[in-house]
Symmetry: C2
Subunit: 243 residues, 2 copies
DNA sequence: GTGCAGAAATTGGTTGGACCATTGAACCAC
DNA sequence: GTGGTTCAATGGTCCAACCAATTTCTGCAC
């Protein structure tokens, strides 16, 4: 009967600090890259100990919202608003090849859905932006004679953004980071991803034609080529030697 | 030219503390719910200040790995291993109806893929377990004459587990938590989700028949009914009144 | 012995102050 | 300009207390 009576908060200093800081960021309209007040100033203004400020900032740093540089200051890394919801995921044992394939399975699911939604929702401006990124990527591919992961990634991001759901970009970006941390570590990118090249344009064509099922199908093909490349590479390279 | 020269790490005290703690947890074979050493003992044993220990534990707490209870101790909340990868997601402005629908789009993508993978990979034991959960859910539905979110959720979890990729369960669980935090707050669950009931068995039938495309199709239907229920509910309830 | 109230010990939370390490800007010699 | 040097600002670490919540122990009443 007396559920939903939240326990009173007698101590939640660091949470309060974060709330105040989020309000400050909003009020000052601070964006990514900008510097926020020093710990000492925050401690003084908020009437709490510097240690408490540090614990609060440590939370934000762990969430990737903020970056601390000794001797320089604390800088925003992402947009912050007072009504954020946090969803920390921890993936145990993701450092091996099997873990890599698992992230690809997630990416396959999200990539296909994002492409389909993008085909439904993208307006003229978004389609033009995607095409711009596609052209950049294709030019880089032809001049440097190989996949360039940077431009490739930019193309995909523009698709995620046009899907109208920022969660796609966030989750896939996290996967992407995991992916690169493992893959580019040993000896740099090889011929990797070469076979996936043509599907970028077929995906774009489906998006431009507002064909969600086609976009989904082509995105699945793209991921399938990446998976095959990975499996071949793993077989050749004796991945078990690593780490 | 001089790429791949990572900056050297001169100080990383709290990271070192976390690594040592992860090793300790592994060595002692500690599982969720168990208590780990007090901050004072950790500080003494690791030869660092208690403050540093606290910063490290604050990181883990923010990641949901650990729970601290004042006056009692610090307890493990999840399994930890030295080679974990963290992926914190922050969803800005997820407190409204649009944010809820965005989480559902992610869930649609993952649910369909997980069901398909499950149809491919589930062995006899997994299928039996899923059927068990399904029967429990159906019985609860008939006796209580309505969807029971607890048993429903258990059924879905068993599908994710049988997909062979723990990431599905982790990500969807995070979405699920977000979902409930928003939805069950105002006035409890209404008739919600009633229409999705029959699809649970059709999904199971496809999984048992090892029909991945059928499982994907039925899963998409299930999410579609939930989306429709939500939209109808939102239109009726004037959700804009909230918050 | 049992039960329970109160004291005592334990443990995370907070404070204030100190010092170290790194950074970046100002300054200076060349 | 170039390359050092100095110096203030800033995050990182440490220490020693004390506060607040919890748990455990103790001793008294029965």
């Amino acid at each position: 009967m007396t559920d939903s009576l939240p326990p009173i908060q007698t101590t939640a200093r660091d949470d309060a600090v974060l709330k105040a800081l989020a309000g400050f960021v909003r009020q000052e309209a601070l964006g990514p890259g900008e510097k926020l007040p020093t710990e000492r100033i925050l401690a003084e203004r908020l009437k709490v100990s510097r240690n408490t400020v540090r614990e609060a900032l440590t939370r934000w740093e762990g969430l990737g919202l903020v970056e601390r540089r000794q001797g320089s200051g604390t800088y925003l890394k992402a947009a912050v608003s007072p009504d954020m919801l946090h969803m920390p995921l921890t993936l145990a044992g993701g450092n091996d090849f099997a873990g890599l394939m698992r992230t690809l399975e997630i990416r396959r699911a999200l990539e296909a859905e994002a492409a389909a939604l993008c085909a439904i929702r993208a307006g003229k401006a978004e389609i033009a932006e995607i095409e711009r990124k596609l052209n950049i990527m294709e030019e880089a591919f032809h001049t440097r004679a190989g996949m360039s992961s940077e431009e490739d990634w930019e193309f995909h991001q523009s698709v995620y953004r046009a899907s109208g759901n920022p969660l796609f970009e966030q989750i896939i970006a996290a996967m992407h980071e995991l992916f690169h941390r493992f893959w580019e570590h040993p000896l740099g990118v090889r011929d990797f991803g070469h076979a996936s090249f043509p599907y970028h344009r077929t995906i774009f064509n489906c998006i431009a034609a507002h064909d969600p099922e086609g976009a989904r199908r082509e995105a699945l093909k793209l991921i399938a080529t990446v998976e095959n490349d990975l499996k071949r590479g793993a077989a050749n390279l004796k991945l078990s030697d690593r780490r």
